[in-house]
């Protein structure tokens, strides 16, 4: 597995662990959610967006790489 795959996997782990932490905090605090829980929950959204941007960026990079490779092969 290459380094970019590790980065994407880390993003997913972060995205899944953030709400789990918030749920645990929510259970601990009782019925009234505080700012900390909301902050952890909001992290899920930012991490999801980062993961999607990561996937899109990786795909664009892969397409560009293949295009360059085929252009080089045509020249050679």
């Amino acid at each position: 597995m290459k380094s970019h795959s590790y980065i994407l996997m880390t993003l997913v782990i972060l995205a899944t662990s953030a709400p789990t932490l918030a749920l645990a905090q929510y259970e601990k605090e009782g019925d009234q959610p505080d700012m900390m829980i909301l902050t952890i929950f909001s992290l899920t959204l930012y991490i999801t967006i980062s993961a999607i941007l990561g996937v899109v960026g990786y795909s664009i990079w892969k397409v560009i790489k293949i295009r360059r490779k085929s252009a080089k092969m045509r020249l050679a």
Binding site: A15, T44, I52
Partner: protein
Amino acid sequence: MQVFPTSPYLKISLLMALAFVPTLVYADDGRGSSVAATLGWLTIGCGMTANLSLVIFKMMKKTAVIKLVVGSNASQSLASAYQQVLNFHIMLNAVGFFAGMSHGFMLIRGLDYITLSLAIVITVSMISGIILKLTSGKNLKFFSRLVHGQAILAALLVTLVVLHVITRWHHGIIMHFI
């Protein structure tokens, strides 16, 4: 091995019938269950059926090619059935997507970060799927195939669905449904 009907009219009728699946949520079970919550369950059901069927079919195809157990007949029929399984996957996912969107709009007051993340992931998957199906450009097709087929995106989707159900459950919105 004949898995799907050969008549094109029957195939189209079966696929068209899938469009009426969401009407099932309006069936009254006498327990006061809400239509919006049922639409959510329907979305989960559609997504699971559509994606698991394609994954299982691909695994069967791979096994048949690797083992070469059944000879050319089964491999050929599996290859010809691929388009039909793909159509089923697209149709059921489209039904699930629109059911999910309706569910989201009906319960928009309860929007939270997890739900919004889930909606974004579903929309990205749907858009990449549509581009993959409709585009003829080589680069765009390759790009959409990469985005649509990312295992990471699928893992994120499953996790967010599970978390969405857990958090909604916790907030008591679907408690009366059980």
